[in-house]
Protein backbone atom coordinates (compact mmCIF):
# COMPACT_ATOMS: atom_id res chain seq x y z
CA UNK A 1 0.00 0.00 0.00
CA UNK A 2 1.50 3.27 -1.02
CA UNK A 3 0.64 6.54 0.42
CA UNK A 4 2.35 9.76 0.21
CA UNK A 5 4.72 10.86 -2.36
CA UNK A 6 5.35 8.54 -5.22
CA UNK A 7 3.14 7.24 -7.90
CA UNK A 8 5.58 6.16 -10.24
CA UNK A 9 5.86 5.21 -13.75
CA UNK A 10 9.59 4.85 -13.47
CA UNK A 11 10.87 1.91 -15.39
CA UNK A 12 14.36 0.61 -14.83
CA UNK A 13 17.24 2.85 -14.01
CA UNK A 14 17.79 6.52 -14.39
CA UNK A 15 14.23 7.71 -14.64
CA UNK A 16 12.87 10.43 -12.44
CA UNK A 17 9.67 9.72 -10.62
CA UNK A 18 7.05 12.37 -11.06
CA UNK A 19 6.44 14.29 -7.88
CA UNK A 20 3.07 14.12 -6.27
CA UNK A 21 1.88 16.92 -4.08
CA UNK A 22 1.99 16.28 -0.38
CA UNK A 23 -1.77 15.92 -0.29
CA UNK A 24 -1.22 12.55 -1.96
CA UNK A 25 -3.24 13.36 -5.03
CA UNK A 26 -6.33 11.43 -5.96
CA UNK A 27 -5.13 8.14 -4.50
CA UNK A 28 -5.27 9.25 -0.89
CA UNK A 29 -7.87 7.57 1.30
CA UNK A 30 -8.17 7.37 5.08
CA UNK A 31 -7.88 3.59 4.83
CA UNK A 32 -4.58 3.67 2.99
CA UNK A 33 -3.18 6.36 5.25
CA UNK A 34 -4.16 4.39 8.31
CA UNK A 35 -2.61 1.22 6.92
CA UNK A 36 0.60 2.95 5.91
CA UNK A 37 1.19 5.41 8.71
CA UNK A 38 -0.88 4.41 11.73
CA UNK A 39 -1.12 0.63 11.81
CA UNK A 40 2.57 0.08 12.49
CA UNK A 41 1.87 1.29 16.04
CA UNK A 42 -1.91 0.91 16.25
CA UNK A 43 -2.25 -2.46 14.54
CA UNK A 44 -2.69 -5.71 16.44
CA UNK A 45 0.93 -5.99 17.62
CA UNK A 46 1.98 -2.35 17.65
CA UNK A 47 3.40 -0.60 20.69
CA UNK A 48 0.53 1.90 20.65
CA UNK A 49 -1.94 -0.96 20.93
CA UNK A 50 0.09 -2.55 23.71
CA UNK A 51 0.13 0.73 25.61
CA UNK A 52 -3.57 1.41 25.07
CA UNK A 53 -4.51 -2.11 26.16
CA UNK A 54 -3.70 -1.01 29.69
CA UNK A 55 -5.94 2.04 29.48
CA UNK A 56 -9.06 1.29 27.47
CA UNK A 57 -11.80 -1.36 27.75
CA UNK A 58 -10.82 -4.88 26.77
CA UNK A 59 -10.93 -5.53 23.06
CA UNK A 60 -10.72 -1.84 22.12
CA UNK A 61 -6.98 -1.19 22.18
CA UNK A 62 -6.79 -1.03 18.40
CA UNK A 63 -8.13 2.31 17.22
CA UNK A 64 -10.31 0.64 14.60
CA UNK A 65 -12.07 -1.32 17.35
CA UNK A 66 -12.77 1.61 19.68
CA UNK A 67 -16.45 2.03 20.53
CA UNK A 68 -16.08 5.79 20.96
CA UNK A 69 -13.39 7.86 19.34
CA UNK A 70 -14.57 11.42 18.70
CA UNK A 71 -13.32 12.97 15.48
CA UNK A 72 -12.31 16.17 17.25
CA UNK A 73 -10.14 14.17 19.65
CA UNK A 74 -8.42 12.34 16.81
CA UNK A 75 -7.72 15.60 15.02
CA UNK A 76 -6.23 17.09 18.17
CA UNK A 77 -4.04 14.07 18.92
CA UNK A 78 -2.67 13.89 15.39
CA UNK A 79 -1.48 17.51 15.53
CA UNK A 80 -0.44 17.62 19.19
CA UNK A 81 0.57 14.04 19.99
CA UNK A 82 -0.55 12.25 23.13
CA UNK A 83 1.39 10.33 25.73
CA UNK A 84 4.48 9.24 23.87
CA UNK A 85 2.92 9.35 20.41
CA UNK A 86 4.62 11.98 18.26
CA UNK A 87 2.44 14.30 16.24
CA UNK A 88 2.01 14.62 12.46
CA UNK A 89 2.61 17.86 10.58
CA UNK A 90 0.31 19.32 7.89
CA UNK A 91 2.89 18.30 5.27
CA UNK A 92 2.37 14.66 6.28
CA UNK A 93 -1.40 14.80 6.55
CA UNK A 94 -3.24 17.92 5.46
CA UNK A 95 -6.15 19.42 7.39
CA UNK A 96 -8.55 18.12 4.77
CA UNK A 97 -7.11 14.63 4.97
CA UNK A 98 -7.12 14.76 8.75
CA UNK A 99 -10.81 15.62 8.73
CA UNK A 100 -11.48 12.57 6.53
CA UNK A 101 -9.26 10.32 8.64
CA UNK A 102 -10.89 11.45 11.88
CA UNK A 103 -14.39 10.97 10.46
CA UNK A 104 -13.49 7.48 9.29
CA UNK A 105 -11.99 6.48 12.62
CA UNK A 106 -14.85 8.04 14.56
CA UNK A 107 -17.43 5.73 12.95
CA UNK A 108 -18.34 2.97 15.38
CA UNK A 109 -17.02 -0.47 14.45
CA UNK A 110 -19.61 -2.16 12.31
CA UNK A 111 -21.19 1.09 11.13
CA UNK A 112 -20.19 0.01 7.69
CA UNK A 113 -19.22 -3.61 7.54
CA UNK A 114 -15.54 -4.02 6.92
CA UNK A 115 -15.01 -0.31 6.56
CA UNK A 116 -12.56 -0.10 9.43
CA UNK A 117 -10.46 -3.09 8.76
CA UNK A 118 -7.38 -0.89 9.10
Amino acid sequence: MKLLPFCGLAIGAALALPAIAADGGDKWTPQTFYADRCAMCHGPSGWGTRTLSRRVPAGQAELTRRAQLPASYIAFVVRHGVGSMPQFTPTEVTDRQLTELAAWLARPPGAAAGAKSG
Binding site: P5, A16, P18, A19, A22, D36, C41, H80, T89, P90
Partner: protein
Protein backbone atom coordinates in the same frame (compact mmCIF):
# COMPACT_ATOMS: atom_id res chain seq x y z
CA UNK B 1 -2.09 33.80 13.42
CA UNK B 2 0.85 33.46 15.72
CA UNK B 3 1.56 35.40 18.92
CA UNK B 4 5.23 34.43 18.78
CA UNK B 5 7.76 36.24 16.60
CA UNK B 6 11.22 35.13 15.53
CA UNK B 7 14.15 36.42 17.57
CA UNK B 8 15.23 39.88 16.53
CA UNK B 9 12.20 40.44 14.29
CA UNK B 10 9.48 42.97 15.08
CA UNK B 11 5.83 41.94 14.95
CA UNK B 12 5.31 44.30 12.00
CA UNK B 13 8.26 42.90 10.04
CA UNK B 14 7.13 39.35 10.72
CA UNK B 15 3.61 40.14 9.63
CA UNK B 16 4.96 41.62 6.40
CA UNK B 17 7.18 38.58 5.89
CA UNK B 18 4.27 36.19 6.40
CA UNK B 19 2.24 38.04 3.80
CA UNK B 20 5.09 37.67 1.33
CA UNK B 21 5.59 34.02 2.21
CA UNK B 22 1.89 33.45 1.46
CA UNK B 23 2.32 35.09 -1.90
CA UNK B 24 5.26 32.83 -2.69
CA UNK B 25 3.94 29.51 -1.37
CA UNK B 26 0.19 29.91 -1.36
CA UNK B 27 -1.73 30.34 1.90
CA UNK B 28 -2.00 26.62 2.63
CA UNK B 29 1.74 26.21 3.06
CA UNK B 30 2.42 29.07 5.45
CA UNK B 31 1.43 27.41 8.69
CA UNK B 32 0.65 29.68 11.59
CA UNK B 33 -2.33 28.22 13.46
CA UNK B 34 -1.86 26.92 16.99
CA UNK B 35 -2.50 23.35 15.83
CA UNK B 36 -0.06 23.65 12.94
CA UNK B 37 2.68 25.09 15.10
CA UNK B 38 2.07 22.44 17.78
CA UNK B 39 2.83 19.79 15.20
CA UNK B 40 6.42 21.06 15.01
CA UNK B 41 7.08 20.95 18.77
CA UNK B 42 9.57 18.41 20.06
CA UNK B 43 7.43 15.48 21.28
CA UNK B 44 10.29 14.38 23.53
CA UNK B 45 11.25 17.80 24.84
CA UNK B 46 13.46 17.72 27.91
CA UNK B 47 11.26 20.06 29.90
CA UNK B 48 8.94 22.69 28.46
CA UNK B 49 8.12 22.05 24.80
CA UNK B 50 7.48 25.75 24.41
CA UNK B 51 11.17 26.55 24.94
CA UNK B 52 11.76 25.55 21.31
CA UNK B 53 8.43 26.56 19.77
CA UNK B 54 8.31 27.86 16.23
CA UNK B 55 6.55 31.07 15.24
CA UNK B 56 5.44 29.51 11.94
CA UNK B 57 6.32 26.82 9.44
CA UNK B 58 6.88 27.19 5.71
CA UNK B 59 6.60 24.33 3.24
CA UNK B 60 7.99 25.03 -0.24
CA UNK B 61 7.20 22.57 -3.01
CA UNK B 62 10.39 22.98 -5.04
CA UNK B 63 13.66 24.88 -5.33
CA UNK B 64 12.01 27.89 -6.96
CA UNK B 65 9.69 28.32 -3.98
CA UNK B 66 12.61 27.67 -1.66
CA UNK B 67 14.60 30.45 -3.31
CA UNK B 68 11.67 32.81 -2.87
CA UNK B 69 11.45 31.92 0.82
CA UNK B 70 15.14 32.64 1.32
CA UNK B 71 14.90 36.02 -0.38
CA UNK B 72 11.95 37.06 1.77
CA UNK B 73 13.59 35.75 4.92
CA UNK B 74 16.78 37.64 4.11
CA UNK B 75 14.87 40.84 3.46
CA UNK B 76 13.06 40.66 6.79
CA UNK B 77 15.92 38.94 8.70
CA UNK B 78 13.66 36.00 9.60
CA UNK B 79 15.71 33.03 10.88
CA UNK B 80 14.73 29.66 9.40
CA UNK B 81 15.19 26.12 10.71
CA UNK B 82 15.29 23.70 7.75
CA UNK B 83 14.05 20.14 8.36
CA UNK B 84 13.66 17.29 5.91
CA UNK B 85 10.99 15.10 7.51
CA UNK B 86 11.38 16.72 10.93
CA UNK B 87 11.68 13.38 12.74
CA UNK B 88 15.04 13.76 14.40
CA UNK B 89 13.64 12.04 17.48
CA UNK B 90 15.69 12.37 20.67
CA UNK B 91 17.61 15.30 19.22
CA UNK B 92 14.86 17.90 18.96
CA UNK B 93 12.66 16.42 16.21
CA UNK B 94 11.58 19.40 14.03
CA UNK B 95 11.95 22.09 16.68
CA UNK B 96 14.45 24.92 16.25
CA UNK B 97 17.35 25.65 18.59
CA UNK B 98 16.06 29.14 19.35
CA UNK B 99 12.44 29.81 20.24
CA UNK B 100 10.55 31.63 17.49
CA UNK B 101 12.80 30.51 14.63
CA UNK B 102 10.58 29.60 11.66
CA UNK B 103 10.60 25.95 10.63
CA UNK B 104 11.36 25.42 6.95
CA UNK B 105 9.68 22.10 6.27
CA UNK B 106 11.04 20.40 3.11
CA UNK B 107 8.68 17.41 3.29
CA UNK B 108 6.88 18.44 0.09
CA UNK B 109 10.15 18.14 -1.85
CA UNK B 110 9.72 14.40 -1.91
CA UNK B 111 10.85 12.93 -5.21
CA UNK B 112 13.04 9.92 -5.71
CA UNK B 113 14.77 11.24 -8.80
CA UNK B 114 16.76 8.15 -9.66
CA UNK B 115 17.52 4.66 -8.50
CA UNK B 116 20.36 3.36 -10.64
CA UNK B 117 20.30 -0.42 -10.80
CA UNK B 118 23.61 -0.60 -12.65
CA UNK B 119 25.74 1.54 -10.38
CA UNK B 120 23.81 1.12 -7.13
CA UNK B 121 22.91 4.62 -6.12
CA UNK B 122 19.89 6.80 -5.55
CA UNK B 123 19.26 10.50 -5.97
CA UNK B 124 16.59 11.79 -3.63
CA UNK B 125 15.02 14.93 -2.23
CA UNK B 126 14.73 15.81 1.49
CA UNK B 127 11.10 14.76 1.97
CA UNK B 128 11.71 11.10 1.15
CA UNK B 129 11.32 9.00 4.31
CA UNK B 130 12.78 5.55 4.87
CA UNK B 131 9.21 4.22 4.60
CA UNK B 132 8.87 5.78 1.16
CA UNK B 133 12.30 4.70 0.00
CA UNK B 134 11.86 1.08 1.08
CA UNK B 135 8.45 0.96 -0.61
CA UNK B 136 9.98 2.19 -3.84
CA UNK B 137 12.89 -0.27 -3.73
CA UNK B 138 10.40 -3.08 -3.13
CA UNK B 139 8.08 -1.87 -5.86
CA UNK B 140 10.91 -1.94 -8.36
CA UNK B 141 12.16 -5.31 -7.05
CA UNK B 142 15.52 -3.62 -6.72
CA UNK B 143 18.64 -5.69 -6.29
CA UNK B 144 19.93 -3.07 -3.88
CA UNK B 145 19.16 -2.77 -0.19
CA UNK B 146 18.54 0.23 1.98
CA UNK B 147 20.53 0.83 5.15
CA UNK B 148 17.94 2.16 7.55
CA UNK B 149 18.27 3.53 11.07
CA UNK B 150 16.44 2.20 14.11
CA UNK B 151 13.28 4.11 13.24
CA UNK B 152 12.05 4.67 9.71
CA UNK B 153 9.83 7.73 10.01
CA UNK B 154 12.71 10.10 9.30
CA UNK B 155 14.23 11.36 6.08
CA UNK B 156 16.84 9.44 4.13
CA UNK B 157 18.70 12.69 3.50
CA UNK B 158 18.16 14.03 7.01
CA UNK B 159 19.54 10.93 8.67
CA UNK B 160 22.68 10.94 6.52
CA UNK B 161 23.16 14.66 7.16
CA UNK B 162 22.88 14.12 10.91
CA UNK B 163 25.49 11.32 10.82
CA UNK B 164 22.93 8.61 11.49
CA UNK B 165 23.82 4.95 11.65
CA UNK B 166 22.38 1.77 10.18
CA UNK B 167 23.13 -1.92 10.50
CA UNK B 168 24.55 -2.96 7.14
CA UNK B 169 28.03 -2.55 5.60
CA UNK B 170 26.66 0.79 4.39
CA UNK B 171 25.66 1.74 7.93
CA UNK B 172 27.72 4.92 8.21
CA UNK B 173 25.13 6.82 6.24
CA UNK B 174 27.16 9.99 5.79
CA UNK B 175 29.87 7.86 4.15
CA UNK B 176 27.38 6.79 1.47
CA UNK B 177 26.75 10.37 0.34
CA UNK B 178 28.00 11.01 -3.18
CA UNK B 179 27.12 14.38 -4.61
CA UNK B 180 24.69 17.02 -3.40
CA UNK B 181 22.66 19.89 -4.67
CA UNK B 182 22.52 22.68 -2.11
CA UNK B 183 20.91 26.09 -1.98
CA UNK B 184 22.87 28.84 -0.31
CA UNK B 185 21.24 31.52 1.78
CA UNK B 186 21.30 33.95 -1.17
CA UNK B 187 19.32 31.52 -3.32
CA UNK B 188 22.27 30.24 -5.35
CA UNK B 189 21.92 26.60 -6.32
CA UNK B 190 25.17 24.60 -6.32
CA UNK B 191 25.90 21.01 -7.34
CA UNK B 192 28.93 19.53 -5.63
CA UNK B 193 31.52 17.18 -7.11
CA UNK B 194 31.02 16.12 -10.70
CA UNK B 195 27.53 17.59 -10.59
CA UNK B 196 29.22 20.85 -11.56
CA UNK B 197 29.65 19.47 -15.08
CA UNK B 198 26.49 19.53 -17.24
CA UNK B 199 25.65 16.07 -18.51
CA UNK B 200 27.76 14.33 -15.89
CA UNK B 201 27.00 10.66 -15.33
CA UNK B 202 29.59 10.58 -12.54
CA UNK B 203 27.92 12.90 -10.01
CA UNK B 204 26.70 9.92 -7.97
CA UNK B 205 29.48 7.57 -9.10
CA UNK B 206 32.67 9.14 -7.72
CA UNK B 207 33.24 11.19 -4.58
CA UNK B 208 36.53 12.89 -5.33
CA UNK B 209 36.11 15.71 -7.86
CA UNK B 210 38.55 18.14 -9.35
CA UNK B 211 38.88 20.44 -6.35
CA UNK B 212 37.75 20.29 -2.73
CA UNK B 213 35.27 17.67 -1.53
CA UNK B 214 32.48 19.82 -0.16
CA UNK B 215 29.76 17.27 0.67
CA UNK B 216 30.97 16.88 4.26
CA UNK B 217 30.70 20.56 5.08
CA UNK B 218 26.96 20.45 4.53
CA UNK B 219 26.39 17.63 7.06
CA UNK B 220 25.46 18.65 10.63
CA UNK B 221 25.87 22.21 9.44
CA UNK B 222 23.93 25.35 8.74
CA UNK B 223 25.96 26.53 5.76
CA UNK B 224 23.31 25.71 3.12
CA UNK B 225 20.11 23.73 2.52
CA UNK B 226 20.53 20.35 0.89
CA UNK B 227 17.93 19.96 -1.86
CA UNK B 228 19.17 16.73 -3.48
CA UNK B 229 21.56 14.04 -2.38
CA UNK B 230 23.18 11.04 -4.01
CA UNK B 231 23.49 7.94 -1.81
CA UNK B 232 25.17 4.64 -2.53
CA UNK B 233 23.16 1.47 -2.04
CA UNK B 234 24.35 -2.00 -1.04
CA UNK B 235 23.96 -4.90 -3.49
CA UNK B 236 21.73 -7.63 -2.11
CA UNK B 237 24.00 -10.16 -0.35
CA UNK B 238 24.09 -13.85 -1.18
CA UNK B 239 24.05 -14.79 2.50
CA UNK B 240 23.61 -13.22 5.89
CA UNK B 241 24.26 -14.35 9.44
CA UNK B 242 22.94 -12.78 12.59
CA UNK B 243 25.29 -13.15 15.53
CA UNK B 244 24.37 -12.67 19.18
CA UNK B 245 27.04 -12.80 21.87
CA UNK B 246 26.29 -12.98 25.57
CA UNK B 247 29.11 -11.85 27.87
CA UNK B 248 28.63 -12.49 31.57
CA UNK B 249 30.58 -9.95 33.56
CA UNK B 250 30.22 -6.19 33.88
CA UNK B 251 34.04 -6.08 34.13
CA UNK B 252 34.43 -7.79 30.76
CA UNK B 253 33.89 -4.71 28.59
CA UNK B 254 37.55 -3.89 27.86
CA UNK B 255 38.23 -7.48 26.85
CA UNK B 256 35.09 -7.53 24.71
CA UNK B 257 36.03 -4.36 22.82
CA UNK B 258 39.60 -5.59 22.26
CA UNK B 259 38.24 -8.92 21.02
CA UNK B 260 35.80 -7.34 18.57
CA UNK B 261 38.28 -4.80 17.21
CA UNK B 262 40.43 -7.06 14.98
CA UNK B 263 37.33 -8.66 13.48
CA UNK B 264 35.89 -5.27 12.63
CA UNK B 265 39.17 -3.85 11.37
CA UNK B 266 39.75 -6.69 8.90
CA UNK B 267 36.09 -6.58 7.84
CA UNK B 268 35.17 -10.05 9.07
CA UNK B 269 32.43 -8.19 10.96
CA UNK B 270 31.35 -6.05 8.03
CA UNK B 271 28.52 -4.07 9.58
CA UNK B 272 27.86 -2.03 12.69
CA UNK B 273 27.92 -4.02 15.92
CA UNK B 274 25.85 -3.03 18.93
CA UNK B 275 26.88 -3.64 22.53
CA UNK B 276 24.02 -3.35 25.02
CA UNK B 277 24.56 -3.15 28.76
CA UNK B 278 22.40 -4.96 31.29
CA UNK B 279 19.97 -2.09 31.71
CA UNK B 280 19.18 -2.07 27.98
CA UNK B 281 18.44 -5.77 28.11
CA UNK B 282 15.90 -5.72 30.92
CA UNK B 283 13.58 -3.12 29.41
CA UNK B 284 12.29 -5.25 26.53
CA UNK B 285 8.72 -6.32 27.20
CA UNK B 286 8.95 -5.20 30.84
CA UNK B 287 7.51 -2.40 32.87
CA UNK B 288 9.81 -0.54 35.23
CA UNK B 289 7.45 -0.84 38.15
CA UNK B 290 7.66 -4.62 37.95
CA UNK B 291 11.41 -4.45 38.47
CA UNK B 292 11.94 -1.53 40.79
CA UNK B 293 9.65 0.56 42.97
CA UNK B 294 12.27 2.52 44.89
CA UNK B 295 13.66 6.02 44.51
CA UNK B 296 16.24 7.00 41.93
CA UNK B 297 17.96 4.81 39.37
CA UNK B 298 17.49 1.06 39.42
CA UNK B 299 20.51 -0.19 41.41
CA UNK B 300 23.17 -2.09 39.47
CA UNK B 301 22.74 -5.09 41.78
CA UNK B 302 19.03 -5.19 40.96
CA UNK B 303 19.77 -5.14 37.23
CA UNK B 304 22.29 -7.98 37.66
CA UNK B 305 19.75 -9.95 39.66
CA UNK B 306 17.10 -9.47 36.94
CA UNK B 307 19.53 -10.54 34.24
CA UNK B 308 20.57 -13.62 36.21
CA UNK B 309 16.93 -14.64 36.54
CA UNK B 310 16.68 -14.49 32.75
CA UNK B 311 19.96 -16.36 32.26
CA UNK B 312 21.67 -13.37 30.67
CA UNK B 313 25.05 -11.76 31.16
CA UNK B 314 25.72 -8.03 31.58
CA UNK B 315 26.76 -7.46 27.99
CA UNK B 316 24.92 -8.42 24.84
CA UNK B 317 26.46 -7.94 21.41
CA UNK B 318 24.55 -8.19 18.14
CA UNK B 319 25.73 -7.77 14.58
CA UNK B 320 24.97 -9.09 11.14
CA UNK B 321 27.48 -10.54 8.71
CA UNK B 322 27.06 -10.03 4.98
CA UNK B 323 28.53 -12.23 2.29
CA UNK B 324 28.35 -11.82 -1.47
CA UNK B 325 29.90 -15.18 -2.34
CA UNK B 326 27.53 -18.10 -1.92
CA UNK B 327 29.05 -20.49 0.58
CA UNK B 328 31.47 -17.89 1.89
CA UNK B 329 29.53 -17.31 5.10
CA UNK B 330 30.72 -20.57 6.63
CA UNK B 331 34.29 -19.23 6.68
CA UNK B 332 33.23 -15.88 8.08
CA UNK B 333 31.16 -17.38 10.90
CA UNK B 334 33.85 -19.91 11.72
CA UNK B 335 36.45 -17.16 12.02
CA UNK B 336 34.23 -15.25 14.48
CA UNK B 337 33.63 -18.40 16.54
CA UNK B 338 37.31 -19.38 16.64
CA UNK B 339 38.44 -15.85 17.48
CA UNK B 340 36.06 -15.62 20.44
CA UNK B 341 36.90 -19.15 21.62
CA UNK B 342 40.56 -18.21 21.75
CA UNK B 343 40.28 -14.74 23.24
CA UNK B 344 37.06 -14.69 25.20
CA UNK B 345 35.97 -18.21 26.08
CA UNK B 346 33.40 -16.99 28.60
CA UNK B 347 31.34 -15.44 25.76
CA UNK B 348 28.40 -17.44 24.39
CA UNK B 349 27.68 -17.11 20.67
CA UNK B 350 24.50 -17.92 18.82
CA UNK B 351 24.10 -17.60 15.07
CA UNK B 352 21.14 -17.55 12.70
CA UNK B 353 21.55 -17.76 8.93
CA UNK B 354 19.84 -16.58 5.76
CA UNK B 355 20.42 -17.26 2.08
CA UNK B 356 19.23 -15.29 -0.92
CA UNK B 357 15.78 -16.48 -1.94
CA UNK B 358 14.66 -17.31 1.60
CA UNK B 359 12.04 -15.15 3.33
CA UNK B 360 13.54 -12.29 5.29
CA UNK B 361 13.43 -12.31 9.10
CA UNK B 362 13.23 -9.44 11.60
CA UNK B 363 16.85 -9.91 12.75
CA UNK B 364 17.99 -8.85 9.27
CA UNK B 365 16.60 -5.36 9.96
CA UNK B 366 15.48 -4.85 6.39
CA UNK B 367 11.90 -4.01 7.31
CA UNK B 368 10.91 -0.51 8.30
CA UNK B 369 10.36 -0.02 12.00
CA UNK B 370 9.38 2.33 14.79
CA UNK B 371 10.62 -0.02 17.50
CA UNK B 372 12.65 2.54 19.50
CA UNK B 373 9.48 4.42 20.38
CA UNK B 374 8.36 1.46 22.50
CA UNK B 375 10.78 2.25 25.33
CA UNK B 376 9.95 5.94 25.61
CA UNK B 377 7.38 5.43 28.37
CA UNK B 378 9.84 3.60 30.64
CA UNK B 379 9.72 6.29 33.34
CA UNK B 380 6.03 7.09 32.80
CA UNK B 381 3.77 8.69 30.24
CA UNK B 382 4.19 11.07 28.57
CA UNK B 383 7.72 9.89 28.23
CA UNK B 384 10.74 11.13 26.41
CA UNK B 385 14.24 10.11 25.51
CA UNK B 386 17.47 11.72 24.49
CA UNK B 387 21.04 10.58 24.67
CA UNK B 388 24.64 11.34 25.41
CA UNK B 389 26.61 10.20 22.36
CA UNK B 390 30.37 10.35 22.89
CA UNK B 391 32.75 8.89 20.30
CA UNK B 392 35.58 6.85 21.77
CA UNK B 393 38.49 5.01 20.17
CA UNK B 394 37.93 1.24 20.06
CA UNK B 395 40.51 0.55 22.77
CA UNK B 396 39.17 -1.56 25.60
CA UNK B 397 40.67 0.37 28.49
CA UNK B 398 39.43 3.71 27.18
CA UNK B 399 35.94 2.43 26.37
CA UNK B 400 35.70 0.86 29.82
CA UNK B 401 36.84 4.05 31.55
CA UNK B 402 34.22 6.07 29.69
CA UNK B 403 31.51 3.48 30.34
CA UNK B 404 32.21 3.46 34.07
CA UNK B 405 32.05 7.24 34.15
CA UNK B 406 28.77 7.39 32.23
CA UNK B 407 27.12 4.64 34.24
CA UNK B 408 28.19 6.26 37.53
CA UNK B 409 26.89 9.67 36.49
CA UNK B 410 23.52 8.27 35.37
CA UNK B 411 23.01 6.57 38.73
CA UNK B 412 24.22 9.67 40.57
CA UNK B 413 21.63 11.82 38.77
CA UNK B 414 18.85 9.28 39.41
CA UNK B 415 18.48 7.99 35.85
CA UNK B 416 18.56 4.36 34.79
CA UNK B 417 21.86 3.74 32.94
CA UNK B 418 20.39 2.57 29.61
CA UNK B 419 23.61 2.43 27.63
CA UNK B 420 24.55 1.00 24.27
CA UNK B 421 27.54 1.37 22.00
CA UNK B 422 27.80 1.10 18.25
CA UNK B 423 30.98 -0.29 16.75
CA UNK B 424 31.29 1.83 13.65
CA UNK B 425 34.09 1.74 11.13
CA UNK B 426 36.41 -0.46 13.19
CA UNK B 427 38.35 2.24 14.96
CA UNK B 428 35.75 3.88 17.17
CA UNK B 429 32.59 3.27 19.14
CA UNK B 430 29.71 5.68 19.47
CA UNK B 431 27.93 5.52 22.81
CA UNK B 432 24.20 6.00 22.96
CA UNK B 433 23.59 6.52 26.65
CA UNK B 434 19.88 7.06 26.62
CA UNK B 435 18.12 9.21 29.17
CA UNK B 436 14.55 7.96 29.55
CA UNK B 437 12.36 10.42 31.41
CA UNK B 438 8.82 11.38 32.31
CA UNK B 439 8.28 14.63 30.45
CA UNK B 440 5.96 16.14 33.05
CA UNK B 441 8.36 15.48 35.92
CA UNK B 442 10.34 18.71 36.09
CA UNK B 443 12.80 17.37 38.64
CA UNK B 444 13.58 14.49 36.30
CA UNK B 445 13.98 16.61 33.17
CA UNK B 446 16.15 19.07 35.14
CA UNK B 447 18.27 16.10 36.21
CA UNK B 448 18.62 15.06 32.56
CA UNK B 449 19.87 18.49 31.59
CA UNK B 450 22.31 18.61 34.49
CA UNK B 451 23.51 15.08 33.73
CA UNK B 452 24.17 15.76 30.08
CA UNK B 453 26.00 19.00 30.79
CA UNK B 454 28.11 17.25 33.42
CA UNK B 455 28.91 14.42 31.02
CA UNK B 456 29.96 16.85 28.28
CA UNK B 457 32.47 18.34 30.73
CA UNK B 458 33.62 14.93 32.00
CA UNK B 459 34.14 13.66 28.47
CA UNK B 460 35.98 16.79 27.36
CA UNK B 461 38.38 16.28 30.26
CA UNK B 462 39.20 12.89 28.71
CA UNK B 463 39.58 14.47 25.27
CA UNK B 464 36.28 13.00 24.13
CA UNK B 465 33.46 14.72 22.23
CA UNK B 466 29.99 13.72 21.08
CA UNK B 467 28.78 12.73 17.62
CA UNK B 468 25.37 14.39 17.87
CA UNK B 469 23.22 16.00 20.51
CA UNK B 470 19.78 17.31 21.37
CA UNK B 471 19.09 20.98 20.66
CA UNK B 472 19.41 21.77 24.35
CA UNK B 473 23.08 20.90 24.37
CA UNK B 474 24.46 22.16 21.07
CA UNK B 475 26.68 24.70 22.74
CA UNK B 476 27.68 22.38 25.59
CA UNK B 477 28.91 19.90 23.00
CA UNK B 478 30.68 22.52 20.89
CA UNK B 479 32.38 23.91 23.99
CA UNK B 480 34.86 21.03 23.92
CA UNK B 481 36.37 22.28 20.64
CA UNK B 482 39.01 24.49 22.23
CA UNK B 483 42.20 23.31 20.50
CA UNK B 484 44.25 26.10 18.95
CA UNK B 485 42.36 28.86 20.72
CA UNK B 486 39.05 27.52 19.37
CA UNK B 487 40.42 27.40 15.85
CA UNK B 488 37.70 25.10 14.50
CA UNK B 489 34.68 27.04 15.86
CA UNK B 490 36.30 30.23 14.59
CA UNK B 491 36.72 28.69 11.13
CA UNK B 492 33.10 27.52 11.19
CA UNK B 493 32.04 31.04 12.11
CA UNK B 494 34.05 32.50 9.21
CA UNK B 495 32.48 30.07 6.74
CA UNK B 496 29.06 30.79 8.19
CA UNK B 497 29.41 34.54 7.87
CA UNK B 498 30.73 34.19 4.30
CA UNK B 499 27.90 31.94 3.11
CA UNK B 500 25.07 33.28 5.24
CA UNK B 501 25.96 36.81 6.26
CA UNK B 502 22.49 37.69 7.52
CA UNK B 503 22.38 34.50 9.56
CA UNK B 504 19.02 33.16 8.41
CA UNK B 505 19.90 29.46 8.21
CA UNK B 506 19.49 27.41 11.40
CA UNK B 507 21.22 29.76 13.82
CA UNK B 508 22.67 27.78 16.72
CA UNK B 509 22.83 24.45 14.97
CA UNK B 510 25.89 22.59 16.25
CA UNK B 511 26.70 25.75 18.17
CA UNK B 512 27.36 27.67 14.95
CA UNK B 513 25.98 31.08 14.14
CA UNK B 514 24.23 32.11 17.31
CA UNK B 515 27.02 33.52 19.44
CA UNK B 516 30.29 35.11 18.35
CA UNK B 517 32.88 32.31 18.04
Amino acid sequence: MTDLVPPGVSAAAFSAALAEFRQALGPDWVLTSADDRASYLDPFAIGDRGDHATAAALAPADTEQLRAVLRIATRHKVPLWPVSMGKNFAYGTAAPATKGTVVLDLKRMNRILEINEDLGYALVEPGVSFFDFKDELDRRRSKFWMSGPAHSWGSVIGNALEHGVGYTPYGIHADTICGMEVMLADGSLVRTGFGAIPGSQEWQAFKLPFGPVLDGMFTQSNFAIVTKMGLWLMPEPAEMAGVTIDVPGRADLAQLVDTLRPLKLDDTINSTYTIANGMRQITGGARRGDIWQGEGAIPIAKIEQTLAARGKGWWNVIFNLFEHTAGGMDLRVERVRRHFAERMPQAKLSVVRWKQGEPQAPWMRQETSLAPLAVVDWRGSPGGHSDFGPVVAAVGSRVDALYQLVERRFVEFGLDPWIGMFGIGGRALVFVADMLYARDDKAMTDACKALLRQLCKDAAAMGIGVYRTHLEFMEDAAAAQIWGDRALPRLNARIKSALDPVGILAPGKQGIGRKPA
